[in-house]
Amino acid sequence: MRIVLIGETPLVFNLDDIRQLRQHGIVGVLSGTLPSLSQQNVFLSVPLRLMMEELLWLLWDSPLDVNVVGGGLPHFSKDVKSGQIHGQQSALRVQESFEQQRLQRWENHVRKLRLIGVEPQPGDSNLLEGSLFMQTHDSRKDDVKSEHTSSELNPTADQIRHYKLYRKLRQMGFTVHPGGRFGGKYVVYPGDPLRFHSHVVISEPLEDDEPLDFLQMVAGARLATTVKKSYVASCVEAKGEEEARFYSFEWAGFG
C-alpha cells in the first residue's frame, strides 16, 4: 500500500487501499475536490487524508505492508526568495504567451471577417480576451526526487503522545475519528462510523499534573451532552511507559 506523505499530511490515492484501510478501522477524511467545482465537506473524493496517528499505527502496529512515499518539495517552495523569483518568472511567461496569443487571434479574426467582407471593429478584441489560455501539466516535469522510505519518518514527541492515546483507544475496540466537530481531539465509535453512533468525545491529552481547564470542560461536556455523548478527559504522560487514562465528564442535568 502506497501512502504519500506531504509535509505532515499522509494521503492515500488508491480506492482499493482506502477500502482495505476501512476494514482495519482507519476511516480518514476524504479531501479531494476540483478547484472549479469545489465541494464543502460532503461529496469529496480521493485522496483520503489520514491523521499522523493513523500512519504511525499502520507502520508500527498493523499487519499491512505500507510504503511511505515522500511528496518531495518543488525547488521554488523551499524558501521565500526562490518562491518569489519563481512566481515572477511564471507570471512573465504567462504574459508573454498571452501577448502572442492575442496577436495571433486578432490576425485570424481579421482574416475571417475580411473573407466575408466585414470590417473588424476595435471592440472585437475584448471577445478574444476570454479565449486566452495557458496549459498547465497535471503531473510534475521537474526532477524532484520523491521516493523516501518509512525509516526516515521522525515523529515529534507530541505526535508520539497522541499516538499513545490513539493506540489505547484502538486497543479498547474503538474506531477513532478526528473530533474537532465536537470540540475534542477525537470522537470514537464502537465500530464503523457509518453503522454506529458515537458516545464519546476525547479531549487533548493532559499530563497527570496538568490542571483541567474548567471552562473548557464545561463547554465540552455541555456540548457533548446535547449530542448524546460524554466528554472524556485523557491523560498521557510524555515520560514513562504508562498507558493513556481517562475520566468521563457529563452534565448532571441540574445546576
Binding site: 474548567f214 457533548a224 472524556v232 468521563s248 442535568g253
Partner: protein, 134 residues
Amino acid sequence: MDSDYTDVTNRIGESTFRLVWDNLAYAQLWEQLRTRDEQVEWQGQTLQIIEGKPPHKLSNDDDGGNENDHGIEYVLPIEMSQYKAGKLTFKCLDLIFDQLCPPDARRITLALANSDGTVMFYFVYKGIHKPKRN
C-alpha cells in the same frame, strides 16, 4: 439543618463548601446531607465530600443492578476560578476516587462553585463511560 461543614474559604472569603452545601440543601432539596470524614490536602485546599440523597434519581442508568445502591450521591465542592487555571488534575482525581469516596461509588458529582454564587454540577466517572440514557 445540620451544619457540620468544614470551612474552606476561597480567595474572596466565601466558603466554597458552604455555598455548595446550601445549594444542595435549599435549591436542589437534597436530603440526608452529611460531610464524609475523609479529607485530602491538595495544593492548599482541603478536599472533602458531601454525601446526600437527591429528591429523584439523577440518571436513568441508576435503577437496578447495584444492591448497595441507596440513591446516595457523592459531591465534591471545588472552586471554579474563571481567571486562573483550575487545580483539578488527573493525580487529584485519582486521590479523590481512591481516598475520598467509598469504593463502591459509581461516580462523584463535581460541584463547581463560582465567585458569583452559582454552582454547576457535573458527573465524573473513572475511565470511558457512556452518556446517560434520556
